[in-house]
Symmetry: none
Amino acid sequence: MYITIDEQDRRPIYQQVIDEIKTLIAKGELGEGMALPPVRQLASDLGVNLNTIAAAYRELQNEGLLNVKHGAGAVVSGGRVKERSDTELRKPLRSALTGLVLAGLAHREIMEIVVDELQWLLNKRK
Amino acid sequence: MYITIDEQDRRPIYQQVIDEIKTLIAKGELGEGMALPPVRQLASDLGVNLNTIAAAYRELQNEGLLNVKHGAGAVVSGGRVKERSDTELRKPLRSALTGLVLAGLAHREIMEIVVDELQWLLNKRK
Amino acid sequence: MYITIDEQDRRPIYQQVIDEIKTLIAKGELGEGMALPPVRQLASDLGVNLNTIAAAYRELQNEGLLNVKHGAGAVVSGGRVKERSDTELRKPLRSALTGLVLAGLAHREIMEIVVDELQWLLNKRK
Amino acid sequence: MYITIDEQDRRPIYQQVIDEIKTLIAKGELGEGMALPPVRQLASDLGVNLNTIAAAYRELQNEGLLNVKHGAGAVVSGGRVKERSDTELRKPLRSALTGLVLAGLAHREIMEIVVDELQWLLNKRK
DNA sequence: GTGGTCTAGACCACG
DNA sequence: GTGGTCTAGACCACC
């Protein structure tokens, strides 16, 4: 499992870890039932505090993506993901698109980027 | 100018205000040279502290979207927006798309939502 | 007398006006006894509030650079300039030089800029 | 780390702190990777409010000089500093030199002061 | 009347 | 223990 942390990124580290793992799951690189690295190992690999990784795993469990068992490590859950409202799903998308518009990109360019990212996310799935 | 704050949203209030104003600018509802409401007025409208709004305006000024003059209010800037790297622009988009994928939406459904949001952002723009 | 205001400049307008007039005096383009434009005229030329220019003239008078008389306009003073401590004079210089160092300029490049600016200020003097 | 605040200085406190820290970085006394004092400690040392120092750190982070991590303190960044235009760099220098000229200093005296300050800034740098 | 700065103090998020 | 956010309220600087 390959995860990186960006020092320049303004988001907290644990959030970066969450997003990276989510992306891996979405891509299918982390499939149902697969085990994640132990908290201590991932923490030392990334050079961050142990609690930081633990917090990330905890949040992912809350969202229904992971199954964390005492002493048994964390595995990717196959169950239902926590439901999100339409608004909750659209808000970050709208923010991202707003950023692209304000950067001066044309409609066509934006669509190309979206298609590109979506391909990248989905082409290995299933 | 119509802005709302979502108590449930985990992002800080000033960040929500920033994003809402950015969207208004992207949509063209806030055009170049238009004045924003005074800090104190927007603060009281939203029921938050004046400093919270001031922080939002300051950040928008830093990004080059607003021109805030000391005793003369804030107006939408026509100048250049702070450059962002390709990565900085794509990261939030990837996050948003990941959320949609994990929610179980199919490729076509996701594209429909994206097109929908993009239309909404761009259809009032000259 | 040619003065410009920079909308992007973070400094308040009246401060920009003060600095521009000071530079004109330092260069000798505004010599002792010469009259400055009336407050109203300069204000309308620059498209700013009348009080803004009045505040600038007032400050310049406080520093001993101008002689403002009711109804008689403002003329460049020949008297002694308000004394400034060594620290007061060096502090802005140190700040400016710090900016150049942090921008990554080498010692030689910085000296070239200083000499350049100083030439520009002094070559018309006396 | 030694910082002082000048009550007489008309600049806001947080700006003074910013400039002092910038000078320390330029001098190399605060080298890449070194930790700054916690917000609360520096605030109490200087006898000012915690928010005032936080504002200074935030601005230094925006300029790319600091790397402030939420629960992990602030360290001097090794990354790229925010680019400034030639004009932005020269304007404060011109202001400072104008002040020296108006104080009645001769060309040679001014150059001596500049060389003196520049030496002081650079002699500890690698 | 506008925004800017600062304080005191509280509570939260992060590592 | 670290920084982040927010509030209430005061006073100042600017236009």
